[in-house]
């Protein structure tokens, strides 16, 4: 015969598991990280392969010197903006860039990246600025990217990340 008192051991496991929370939570205001919106200006080039926002520890000094720490791609061709949200380790990151890649190129082939936007250095806006990430704060940085910076197909690609 079945007796509910026999289920006590099962309840112990349930209680143990019930106290474990819900695991990985969404990125919120108290998360250490970075979020923002990328506004895309101009007409999308027909030969667009990828548009992505990416964060590097430091600005790549050669074609393939470093992979991005994180990146997010634009959701769909033709969008005028997209958001990104990353959890990060606290510290300083040297290069926050919006990159465009021609169709047929690959995301981690940095030689094919065209910089169409970046987070500027407040002291010298012509240079990329460091992004400081503080513990317990979700920093908000919006970026502007301009498709008019994409060279025509015959013009070749700019190499080495930032021109």
């Amino acid at each position: 015969m079945f007796s509910w008192s026999r289920c006590l051991p099962l309840l112990i496991l349930f209680l143990l598991a019930g106290g474990c929370g819900y695991g990985l939570a969404p990125v919120g205001p108290n998360t250490t990280g970075l979020t923002g919106q990328v506004r895309l200006v101009g007409a999308w080039p027909e030969d667009t392969g990828v548009v992505a926002v990416a964060l590097f520890r430091a600005e790549p000094v050669s074609n393939q010197s470093e992979f991005p720490v994180v990146f997010t791609e634009a959701p769909a061709f033709g969008d005028s903006s997209f958001t990104y949200t990353w959890t990060l380790q606290p510290g300083s990151y040297g290069y926050l860039v919006v990159a465009w890649m021609r169709e047929g190129n690959y995301l981690f082939d940095l030689a094919s990246w065209i910089q169409i936007g970046y987070y500027p250095d407040p002291a010298d806006p012509s240079e990329p600025g460091p992004v400081l990430i503080t513990p317990g704060i979700l920093r908000h940085l919006d970026l502007r990217a301009d498709f008019s910076l994409v060279p025509p197909p015959s013009g070749g690609t700019r190499r080495g990340g930032r021109e």
Binding site: M1, F2, S3, R6, C7, P9, L10, L13, F14, L16, A17, G18, C20, G21, Y22, G23, L24, A25, P26, V27, G33, V50, N63, Q64, F67, V69, V70, T72, E73, A74, P75, A76, F77, T83, Y84, T85, W86, T87, L88, Q89, Y106, L107, F108, D109, L110, A111
Partner: protein, 710 residues
């Protein structure tokens, strides 16, 4: 190899033609109820003569040497019986046995640790057994869904690890060898397991041998060996069918919700076992469609299996098994964003893969004497796959053909095993070109009883591995073990040996670009290897309590991993030496009336790079699991709780959050006539975690399973 076999055969006991033999037959039933017990192992002690009972519990042992003999009877869940019997010359003797049920479903006889049948306490390696009931009660469509319940075993995505051997290494081969009835079931290109060729409803039991086992099994047996043993085609007449219907709850966090409705899983599987004269036949098939719990998570899975077995009990035994599987499934590499973890980027949306597999295995065994047999196992495994990606349409056909031949000579003193194998892998695929691989090996193992309670075994295997682009590489893998049984309640085991893995075709020859990654070939790859040692044992202080413990230490060298080259591509290279050490504990207990059973496991693991002392990626330093089952009348309630400490390091995105893993599953089932209805709840606490970066585990899932058996 041929000459060595001749030497072995000459050294064996005389052939049975010169012996006087008789027959032992009877039935195996459950004490108390008289219910017939199918698939009971019946063997003549000190010989290789054995058989299994059929669905009526009947068995027949032929060619048993005349005179007084000991016959052993064992089934998982029942106490082992050994009976003496006088076998008449040229005659028959009847021996009916009633086996007492035991609440602890302990393993009895295993075949994988030594490539021949032996009691689990005598095995020279740590062996765990998953029985058919464990698979069936969890309604697992494939084996990978339940393997992580075995102490020390981890499943990350579709990669299998034992005691931290594999971690996760996308595209690279696993460090555990998976066998189907003793034959490798690894894909010929990546060297990974093709889980869809191992449908759960055809499985009788699964033996997991832990620790390096290349001395008997060759490449890939670094962390251990998983041998999937299919049901006997003589265990009929029997029929089994199962329908499954499942759906997922919404994720706990609103931000993660991405579709209306939970998506559905529906599946129908069936197995039929019938006699065709003296032959046994098993036919099995199934279809499953799931929407999946995430974008691109859909899968359509169709499979079939036919197994024929020759007459039982004679001098020759054979079987032939053909498995077919087709799987179409969406492709999910990583999430789109932290707050959209169940969606892929626009670039991957709609990407999918088709794969077809055909596996044909056969086994022919000839009894050479009361203590010896010769076994041949040819097999053929073809995989065809094609990627339907936005940026990639690669495809390949990979065929592996091999023949394993081994002879076993057993006596009351011990067991000698000598064998060899030869095989070839042919590849034709856009990412690989048309390389070929040839393999050959010789192996020898001797197990002897050096004292009344002490068994010693030693052996080794020489493997030769050649590809169309490289010279022959040879690897010798030795192993020694000492097993001491100080009392019937306990066993102590010391083992040391080597394992290795030859680089896979994919690791050596792949040239592929997809998803932002470009992978380039490396024909100069060398085999990776491990030297390992273990001290372990089991102890039953009371009849319904069993403790198992092991301490292990493994040193891996030339580990193959995908690394970024200086020019931005990914290439597989021999990059790392690492030390993996730890302890494993397992406790099984039950109450005498059998209404409560429990199993608890714990693994402590330290896995560090020897060069820079960094922890290896994707290994959880502590893992534990608990299973409790309660029975009452026709009802059964059970829970599985799995815990894992946060991984020490991530491989691709080292700054991503690392969290502990918890998973609580529960099921309640009731028998109604020949039906059993089971409601399963998976991940009941709706806990979300990443096993590998940017792949969130499934939310809570509800599954209804209706089984019918006859």
């Amino acid at each position: 190899m041929k000459s060595l076999l001749v030497v072995l055969l000459l050294s064996m006991p005389p052939a049975t033609e010169q012996e006087v033999t008789g027959t032992v037959l009877g039935t195996v039933t459950e004490a108390g109820t008289g219910a017939p017990l199918a698939a009971a192992n019946i063997g003549v002690v000190g010989t290789v003569i054995g058989t299994m009972s059929d669905a009526r519990g009947e068995y027949r042992l032929l060619n048993v040497p005349a005179g007084r003999r000991e016959v052993s009877f064992s089934v998982v869940g029942y106490a082992v019986e050994i009976r003496e019997v006088d076998v008449p010359e040229g005659g028959m003797v009847r021996l009916d046995i009633e086996l007492e049920p035991t609440p602890l479903p302990l393993p009895d006889v295993v075949i994988t640790a030594a490539r021949s049948q032996q009691r689990v306490e005598e095995a020279a390696s740590s062996v765990a057994v998953l029985d058919a009931a464990t698979l069936r009660t969890r309604a697992a469509p494939r084996l990978d869904a339940v393997l992580s319940l075995v102490p020390g075993v981890t499943m990350i995505d579709d990669q299998l690890g034992i005691r931290g051997s594999t971690g996760y290494n996308r595209g690279a081969g696993g460090r555990v060898l998976v066998l189907l009835d003793g034959v490798p079931a690894l894909g010929g290109d990546t060297g990974n397991v093709r889980w869809d060729t191992l449908p759960a409803e055809t499985i009788q039991r699964v033996e997991v041998v832990k620790g390096a086992a290349s001395a008997l099994y060759g490449s890939s047996a670094m962390g251990g060996v998983v041998n999937v043993i299919t049901r006997s085609a003589h265990a009929g007449p029997a029929a089994y069918a199962r329908f499954r219907l499942g759906t997922w709850d919404e994720p706990h966090y609103d931000e993660y919700r991405w579709r209306s409705g939970g998506g559905l899983t529906r599946a129908l599987e069936g197995t039929l076992i019938r006699a065709l004269g003296d032959l046994g036949m098993m036919v099995s098939g199934g279809y499953e469609y799931t929407d999946g719990f995430r974008e691109n998570g859909w899968s359509r899975y169709l499979h079939g299996l036919v197994k024929l077995e020759g007459p039982q009990g004679g001098r020759d035994r054979w079987n032939l098994t053909a498995t077919l599987a087709r799987q179409d499934r969406g492709h999910f590499i990583e999430w789109r964003d932290y707050n959209d973890p169940y969606q892929v980027s626009a670039l991957q949306r709609g990407d999918w893969i088709r794969s077809d597999k055909i596996m044909v295995t056969s086994s022919w065994r000839r009894l050479l004497g009361r203590g010896a047999y010769l076994q041949l196992q040819p097999h053929l495994f073809t995989v065809r796959w094609r990627q339907y990606f936005r940026d990639n349409d690669d495809s390949a056909v990979i065929t592996r053909a091999a023949l394993d031949a081994h002879a076993v000579a057993a006596s009351s003193l011990g067991t000698l095993t000598l064998g060899g194998m030869g095989g070839t892998v042919g590849v034709d695929g856009s990412p690989y070109g048309t390389p070929t691989v040839t393999e050959a090996a010789l192996y020898l193992q001797d197990e002897i009883e050096v004292g009344p309670r002490i068994r010693f075994s030693a052996g080794g295997r020489l493997d030769l591995h050649t590809t169309s682009a490289t010279a022959t590489r040879s690897v010798f893998s030795p192993k020694v073990a000492l097993v001491v049984t100080p009392s019937p309640a306990g066993t102590l085991r010391l083992t040391a040996g080597r394992g290795f893995r030859a680089p896979s075709v994919a690791e050596m020859f792949i040239s592929m670009a997809t998803g932002g990654f470009t992978v380039i070939p490396n024909p100069a790859l060398e085999p990776e290897s491990v030297w390992g040692a273990e001290i372990g044992g089991s102890w039953s202080p009371l009849p319904l309590i069993r403790l198992e413990a092991s301490l292990f230490r493994n040193r891996y060298t030339s580990m193959i991993e995908g690394v970024a080259t200086g020019t931005g591509e990914i290439q597989f290279r021999n990059v790392r030496a690492a030390r993996l050490q730890g302890a494993e504990l397992s406790l099984m207990a039950a109450v005498p009336q059998g209404w409560l059973q429990g199993r608890f496991t714990y693994l402590w693991l330290s896995a560090r790079d020897i060069g820079n002392s960094e922890p290896l990626a994707y290994r959880r330093p502590r893992r534990g699991s608990g299973t409790i089952e309660v029975r009452g009348g026709a009802w059964r309630l059970a829970t599985d709780l799995i815990y894992g400490a946060p991984v020490s390091r991530l491989g691709v995105y080292p700054f991503d959050r690392r969290l502990p893993r918890y998973r609580l599953d529960a099921r309640v089932s009731r028998a109604v006539g020949s039906l059993r209805l089971t409601l399963h709840g998976h991940n009941l606490t709706n806990y979300a975690v990443t096993e590998i970066e940017r792949n969130l585990t499934a939310p809570r899932e509800w599954l209804l399973s209706i089984e019918w058996s006859k």
